[in-house]
């Protein structure tokens, strides 16, 4: 475990160190951006809409019963932009993109493609990890910025249409505006940026240490997704604690 952590830190540091070479890899960054961003957009919309809806469905009737319906919009607004939005989108991207990263790099490792790069004096970190890191660090926060209003909309729709809640759009968003500040949205976007770095580092590291044939690749993919999700949850706690302390 500690060896893995050490490898993660080294890989992350080496990738940061190679950031000045990003312009050289711009074509690969754009390809990855398309893969991570554009291809995930529909899934992000659906997920956000339903999470917002479920949140309203679970909390709305309870708050209405206790006469606290006026805080519903603000509560859903805060919960989605500070926690659910960044965490759920990060988990989605870990499953969709982290697994793809581990599988692709793992397969390149197993079939000697990474060795071939090294014999050509091409660093696998510059060629494979850097473009993915830059792309995911742009794409995931952008997806979260997109997901937050969609999640709010999901909450507002359920609040308006569900007979046990019946809070109109205007009242929902009015309350949301009084409670949610720009800093709260920034808080969530910042978290997603850190999650993006973690997903990429964990997935690429798993790919780079893959051994064996197809079974080894499968093992790496599973580890990449599971470790990314565990990493996201642990980092979420640390970041929440730190951001609360700073505030």
């Amino acid at each position: 475990m500690f060896r893995n952590l050490g490898q993660l830190v080294i890989l992350f540091w080496q990738t940061l160190w190679s950031l000045p070479l990003t312009w050289r890899q711009r074509r690969k960054v754009f390809d990855q951006l398309f893969e991570i961003g554009n291809a995930s957009l529909l899934m992000v919309c659906v997920l956000s809409l339903f999470i917002g809806g479920v949140l309203a469905l679970q909390t709305g009737p309870v708050l209405v019963e206790r006469g606290a319906s006026s805080v519903l919009g603000g509560m859903i607004g805060l919960a989605f932009c500070k926690e659910l939005g960044p965490v759920m989108m990060a988990i989605l991207i870990a499953g969709r993109i982290g697994s793809a990263m581990a599988a692709e790099i793992g397969s390149m490792r197993v079939y000697n493609e990474i060795d071939a790069l090294r014999t050509m004096n091409i660093s696998p970190i510059h060629y494979l990890v850097l473009p993915r890191m830059v792309a995911i660090a742009i794409a995931l926060p952008s997806l979260v910025i997109f997901a937050i209003p969609v999640g709010w909309l999901g909450g507002a729709m359920v609040s308006a249409l569900n007979g046990r809640i019946s809070i109109g759009f205007e009242a929902f968003f009015g309350d949301l505006r009084t409670m949610v500040e720009v800093g709260d949205v920034f808080n969530g976007v910042f978290k997603s940026f850190v999650f993006a770095l973690a997903i990429c580092t964990i997935s690429c590291q798993q790919g780079l240490i893959t051994i064996g044939g197809p079974r080894g690749i499968g093992r790496s993919v599973t580890k990449a997704v599971v470790n990314s999700i565990v990493g996201i949850v642990i980092l979420d706690y640390i970041l929440t604690r730190t951001l609360l302390y700073i505030k």
Binding site: Y111, N112, E113, A116, T119, M120
Partner: protein
């Protein structure tokens, strides 16, 4: 790659190389020299450590003990890979499946930004033509046969204009005709750019046909180094068994 030696070939010296994977000692004190421009063949039975030795020579793995010197400089010193142009043709060809044939061949030049895209395109066409693969630049590597993939890998190595080129089983999985084509390409390459070549192979025809010297490896040790003639005339029974191994169909009859 900016600091390129004007000489086209390099001397390789391997001294007391040892490598162990767990309890298994794969290389057990290997020493030999490869002279500039020489075609040096490493032969031996499966599992004798040939491919591991090749990976150590190109610097993909570090030995447990011993050293590899390229022009008297240790391979693992930071600037050797920068200073000398080296290439390896892998047994599996190791072409990048996400790239086209042309992108694979021109990868070294494009990644190191050594030429303009137009020049890279011209060089790629030229090298592909040289290995008899005209007009396949835009094809996917997965569309190619094993022999074609090997030749694309050779073209990719040629682009580097290597001073040292390593081949891991270049004729494995190929039909006899294609094996001859590849052997001829290796020979032509040596004659044209005078690169030092180290070839790991089981292929007796290849070894005796194009090798200047042959090292016979068994259980991580070198049994004998000599010219093809010396190896053929060796009195070592293990070497004789290896180079004269033939199927005797009668011996399998009940």
């Amino acid at each position: 790659m900016m600091n390129v030696d004007a000489r086209q070939n390099v001397r390789v010296e391997v001294r007391g190389l040892r490598k162990r994977f767990g309890e298994n000692e794969v290389l057990n004190g290997i020493s030999f020299n490869v002279e500039p421009g020489e075609i040096f063949i490493i032969m031996g039975p499966s599992g004798s450590g040939k491919s591991v030795l090749l990976r150590q020579i190109i610097g993909l793995e570090e030995p447990d003990a011993g050293e590899i010197l390229i022009e008297n400089e240790p391979i693992h010193s930071s600037d050797v890979l920068q200073k000398y142009r080296m290439a390896m043709v892998f047994q599996s060809s190791a072409l990048l499946k996400s790239l086209t044939v042309g992108e694979n061949v021109g990868l070294y030049l494009s990644e190191h930004q050594l030429k303009t895209p137009e020049e890279i395109d011209r060089i790629v066409r030229e090298k592909l033509e040289l290995v008899g693969l005209k007009g396949i630049k835009d094809r996917s590597t997965s569309e190619l046969s094993g022999g074609m993939q090997k030749r694309v890998a050779l073209a990719r190595a040629l682009v580097i204009e290597p001073q040292l080129i390593l081949y891991d089983e270049p004729t494995s999985e190929l039909d006899p005709f294609m094996s001859v084509v590849i052997a001829e390409e290796i020979l032509k390459l040596r004659n044209r750019i005078h690169a030092t070549s180290i070839i790991v192979s089981h292929d007796r025809d290849l070894a005796f046909g194009i090798g200047d010297r042959i090292a016979m490896l068994s259980d991580g040790k070198i049994m004998q180094i000599g010219t093809p003639k010396e190896i053929k005339e060796s009195r070592d029974p293990q070497i004789q068994r290896f180079i004269h191994a033939e199927l005797n169909a009668n011996s399998t009859k009940p």
